[in-house]
Symmetry: C2
Subunit: 342 residues, 2 copies
């Protein structure tokens, strides 16, 4: 029978409904059709098709290995003032101040993170760290979000491998919720709620996919989506940008393996991944930001969300999710499968 579940961090229930379950083969996806490389703005030789470059990793042969550019249609953009304003006495508005960048992960039009050599994935993760550091140095930016949309059903408008970074002038609601849970727990226990949750998961074992270089790949107890995968550093750290080079290499390996196992099991499913990092600690002139003072309570991690089911009226109406794939089964399938490109 269906089961209701709730994890300790997010006060949100999930319905695990295995009666509706399918086998992994039923979820298998073909690779989405690739755009015409002749028209791809992310391919080498087409650099003039993008706004001026922000950052590049050189490939040692006069070309680039990773490239960062502004998003051509930015959701947020630079502006000299926030313009906070009340509208009609009731509503809040401000200018869309922030940043919106695109990380082109490789010059190769055909390959994605799961298929690239480990040495290249390390360069991509290093680029993430550098860009987040730079954007977090800006006091307008309260939160910097790194995410990837893969496949049209996951919101990717171009097929060439890329990820995105958005810096926002407010701390997002979902981040504040997690910070509040972590704060309250720390008040009681003087321990990190994320560390303790991870320890409980490692002791139970059923939802652990594997441990890779001090990172844990696992499927959460309250997974909202089939084959939802989280990657947590096993060491406590609130800030992704403070990784040592050894930790960066470990994460690159864990990320490549997690995405590779997803690909090995499900073909090439559409997915999103999202970095959950602490809010920007940079002190603002004037009033300090309350949420930034809670930064140390966070424990950064990456969430990978395959987009295999439709989010429908029930989810929009309640914040509840219905997941037909128990995470214990998902973890077992993922443990047993080899990554697409090991």
């Amino acid at each position: 029978m269906p089961e209701l579940r709730r994890g300790p961090i997010t006060d949100r229930w999930v319905i695990i409904a295995p009666e509706r379950a399918k086998r992994p083969t039923d979820y298998r996806s073909e690779s989405p059709e690739k755009d015409d490389p002749a028209k791809c703005p992310f391919c080498p030789g087409h650099e003039h098709m993008t706004p001026p470059e922000i950052y590049r990793v050189h490939d040692g042969n006069g070309g680039w290995a990773v490239r960062v550019i502004p998003n051509k249609f930015p959701a947020l953009t630079t502006y000299p003032e926030l313009g906070r304003e009340a509208v009609g006495g009731f509503f809040d508005r401000m200018h869309g101040v922030g940043a919106h960048e695109v990380v082109v992960e490789t010059p190769d039009h055909e390959r994605d993170l799961a298929d690239l050599p480990l040495g290249h994935v390390i360069k991509v993760v290093e680029t993430y760290v550098r860009r987040l550091q730079e954007l977090m140095a800006n006091t307008w930016h309260r939160y910097v979000l790194l995410f990837k949309n893969h496949g049209p059903q996951a919101g990717a408008s171009l097929s060439h491998a890329h990820s995105q970074i958005i810096a926002t002038p407010v701390t997002p609601r979902d981040v504040r919720d997690r910070l509040e849970a972590a704060r309250d727990y720390y008040h009681k226990k003087e321990r990190c709620i994320f560390c303790d949750m991870l320890l409980a998961e490692l002791q139970m074992g059923k939802r652990i996919v594997e441990e890779v270089n001090n990172y844990v790949i696992w499927t959460p107890f309250d997974s909202r989506f089939p084959f939802e995968i989280h990657i947590y550093p096993q060491y406590h750290s609130h800030d992704f940008t403070q990784m040592t080079s050894e930790q960066i290499q470990g994460l690159a390996r864990a990320l490549k393996r997690a995405l590779g196992k997803l690909k090995g099991l499900l073909g090439d499913p559409p997915f999103n991944f999202v970095l959950q990092n602490a809010p920007n600690p940079v002190p603002r002139p004037g009033r300090p930001d309350y949420w930034a003072t809670l930064q140390y309570d966070y424990h950064w991690h990456i969430e990978i969300i395959p987009r295999l089911t439709q989010v429908a009226g029930f989810e929009w109406g309640t914040g509840f999710y219905i997941n037909p794939m128990p995470p214990e089964d998902a973890a077992q399938y993922l443990r047993e499968v080899e990554p697409a490109d090991p």
Copy 2:
């Protein structure tokens, strides 16, 4: 330039990014392909293909006009106990106790709420009210949600017009958030926050689509999606099931007009609609439910969400939404268009 917006009820920012906007014609959708009526479990003559009927509205000719059945693959189901339990010291689980029903809105395989005669839509709304009343009489049910998925991209697995009702044993997170906002506002003002917001909107006028029989059809200031439409009763009421028959008729007309205008403007787009009602007030044996005590602070309403954009990594990571269509423009388009079947 993009703008950040937040409404008074939900502490959630939305990015309105008109640079990314398209015209309504770019969003136009063809009707989704209809399932084969010969295999449709919702067509007359196929009643044996569904679980036993719960409720029907007779058509006066020995047949039915509206029919309610249990969902064949229920997300929640009846069970003699909740089985609340801690798992691994950290996680909460309970049995998936509740109900999951399907309202077949018409025997006609081809037509949807927007195209059905007003008299028939009234029967559908009456059915919603009856079923909610019945499910709210059960003390296991803390919240009863009515919603509709239309089109495969909105999560509908069958094309024959239907809506769904799910009763949950917990008050959903999103409902609690709204109740908290309404409670805090009432403490300060002794007025309903929803009533006041509606008044502010009516005074500004820019986002009002039309007023129909004491209901207001409008596009919210912080619309998350292009052409998101809300229907609010202009009278204060926390509970949908307390509508008089005159109010039911008015709502049926407003719902038909709102969906008809959407269809007139956008073809036959995939959409969800969701009833936002107060939590179930039925006193539980033992401890009373805190959220139920806040029921009078609510103001029920219906949210219609066309599914024209993809929810991607940014939205999953933050709870932020990016909406390329300013609700003021959406309201103007919707004001000017005639409903598909007036």
